[in-house]
Amino acid sequence: MDLLNAIVALSNFVLVPAIAYGSQLALGALGVTLIYGILRFSNFAHGDTMAFGTMVTILVTWWFQAAGIGLGPLPTALLALPAGIAACMLLLLATDRVVYRFYRAQRAKPVILVIVSIGVMFILNGLVRFIIGPGEQRFADGERFIITARDFKEMTGLAEGLALKTTQGITLVTAIIVVALLFWFLNRTRTGKSMRAYSDNEDLALLSGINPDRVVMVTWLIVAALATVAGVLYGLDKSFKPFTYFQLLLPVFASAIVGGLGNPVGAIAGGFIIAFSEVMITYAWKKVLGYLLPESLAPDSLVQLLSTDYKFAVSFVILLIVLLFRPTGLFRGKAV
């Protein structure tokens, strides 16, 4: 019984939240890694791109809510998501047209593009704060839980409950669908393959008649979708705040780099590695250990390795270890 209780407590406080968070990071990191693979620079504006897509989704959600349109038990935001994605796509295409295209034609160096992306980051950040304000927004509606802790306890008769939030379930399902679609696209379609070819060997791709402008455009479109989905899922699960989204840049980049920049499988693995480490190191293990250890050894303290405020330190340390011992990332970062 104690072992079961320990497993349930572990799932409730560590596994489920980490899987949800990991999926969100993975989607964010996929966007970063695609831009890196195709456009060959680290996009510092990615966190704010996520914020922009999410903001539009929230605005449309409010509009739907005011009009009384909803999805019943599911959050209305899912209905508004396509609008957010479309707006984000328009934004990124416009940014590319107005800003990045010029530097591509100049064959600007990656580090210059990074600085350019910092400029874009400022603009997006200002835009988002201007439109929706810097405050925190919660926009999840519908049923809050798939299973509540109490239901679970009644069902199983265990002392520990396992709560599954609707947003966590949606995050996982959406992430699986999006990732499956993405991989199908990259590995099975002509356009997807041409993107991988372009990322692998730009010169040869040009010689093969692959149109770089089209590849770049498709990349931005995919990145817009990924960023918006990642941002909306994160916002549903936790809450939306422009500054938090800017800060997501660090774990998202850590995920992409740990997995190997430019490698989509790596980005997903990296997302889960970072999420699990963050949750596990900042979780107070007292409860789980209390079930597992004999009474005499049960800990008095919280057995929390680091306070939650240091979660950034976790991504950072993992990042540093990977960079020191395997600079190309766990999965060799090379092609898309």
Partner: protein, 434 residues
């Protein structure tokens, strides 16, 4: 137009802008802009040292600024005697144990032959050491933080004159930079960028959470000043007389006097640092740095230790930024960890460097003043603009209220725009590198 003339005109323009602020708005605002402009100029000098001389992409500026701020607290605040008695020694012992554990692990890694046993030993040292450290450290922290939490609840500082904090801030930042540099230099630029971004967040997390050190989010206020207090001046006979003679109200005069005094102190630091930076740039060391930057392979082939040189310049630049951070906290008179925002303290400094001209010290200084001026003035201008734009809207309309309220966020937008415009149309900045 010749180079020196153009540069002089640019500086005159910035001075004119600040003077204009004085005439149109108030002299107090103008002096505030000047003071923060001086500090910004020092920060952008530091970043320019790293980026302009060596091409190091440091986006952890905020962390070094915050460390400088911490230095001001640690140096100038009076020590909390009760807290030291309650658990100060225990905290120190904990820190020493922590450091010893890391050193021991590093030594093991270095001196034992590579084997599974070595990995195991390192793990045992680290995990065991961690619990030992927490065992000693945590009770100490609890004891310290329990001493008068509303008033102190931290160990306090050394009670030294606050001016000492400026070089100490530089030293603290230099120490942190050395550790980061050891680990992250020699990596690709975007890896270094992410690493420095991360370290800045960690430094901030420490300031926010280690109450025994910095009172965390309870802030430290009342940091002693290097200049007199306004109230003291208002009670000093010669000052009141002087103020009356030039026909200014003593209260206003005292506030302006203090600001001018700060400006004098900051200007001295800026001029010294600028002089040193110019000397360094034109010395054999500076030429070598640029040679490495322009052709690393050739420099390496000539026997230059590139990573070592990069470490040098990274530490130096961070020290300058740390010093500026200490100066800023001195000016504010308080340390507010939540006030450190990466957009303001990291990326804005980058805008200053790029706009001013990467690789040119004068450019960095100019960028510091100009961008700071814009940062301050965009807000009222934006507000005014919004009022003009929203004038036709009905009073009390939700859109009007929203637009007026949001005008404050125009400044981020404007900074992005300025950066992009400069990058596009004048990529070498206002005063390009020679």
């Amino acid at each position: 137009m010749s180079e020196p003339l153009k540069n002089t005109l640019l500086f005159v323009l910035v001075a004119g802008l600040i003077l204009l602020t004085g005439f149109v708005q108030s002299w107090s605002t103008a002096l505030l802009i000047l003071n923060m402009g001086l500090i910004s100029a020092v920060m952008s000098l530091g970043v320019n040292l790293q980026w302009g001389y060596a091409g190091l992409f440091n986006v952890g500026v905020m962390g070094f600024v915050a460390l400088g701020g911490l230095a001001a607290v640690l140096v100038a605040m009076p020590p909390t005697v009760d807290a030291w008695a309650a658990g100060g020694m225990r905290v120190m012992a904990g820190l020493i144990i922590g450091a010893a554990v890391i050193v021991a692990a590093a030594m093991t890694l270095r001196f034992l032959p590579r084997s599974r046993w070595r990995t195991l030993a390192v793990l045992v040292i680290l995990v065991g050491g961690f619990f030992l450290y927490r065992g000693v450290f945590d009770p100490g922290v609890e004891a310290v933080e329990d001493v008068n939490p509303a008033g102190t609840g931290y160990l306090g500082g050394l009670g030294l004159p606050v001016l000492v904090a400026w070089p100490v801030g530089g030293l603290l930042a230099a120490g942190a930079a050395w550790i980061i540099g050891k680990a992250a230099l020699g990596l690709r630029s975007d890896y270094l960028a992410i690493a420095t971004l991360g370290i800045a967040e960690i430094i901030l997390a420490i300031l926010k959470n280690e109450d025994w050190l910095s009172r965390g989010v309870k802030n430290v206020s009342g940091i002693p000043r290097p200049v007199p207090y306004e109230v003291e001046l208002q009670e000093t006979a010669w000052f009141v007389e002087g103020a009356q003679r030039i026909g200014v109200d003593p209260v206003t005069a005292s506030s302006l006097y203090i600001k001018v005094a700060y400006a004098g102190l900051f200007a001295v630091v800026l001029i010294i640092l600028l002089g040193l930076a110019q000397l360094a740039l034109n010395s054999p060391w500076g030429r070598m740095m640029r040679a490495i930057r322009d052709n690393e392979t050739a420099a390496e082939a000539m026997g230059k230790n590139v990573t070592r040189r990069h470490l040098q310049v990274f530490v130096l630049g961070s020290a300058v930024v740390g010093m500026a951070g200490a100066m800023m906290t001195t000016l504010d008179g308080q340390l507010i960890p939540t006030a450190y925002q990466p957009l303001r303290f990291t990326f804005l400094i980058w805008v200053m460097v790029i706009v001013g001209g990467s690789g040119n010290n004068l450019g960095a200084v100019l960028g510091g003043f100009l961008v700071w001026f814009l940062w301050v003035q965009v807000e009222p201008i934006g507000h005014w603009l919004m009022q003009v734009v929203t004038a036709p809207l009905a009073e009390g309309s939700a859109l009007k209220a929203h637009l007026l309220e949001s005008a404050a966020h125009m400044r981020l937008f404007t900074m992005g725009l300025v950066l992009l415009l400069v990058l596009r149309f004048s990529p070498r900045g206002l005063i390009p590198e020679k």
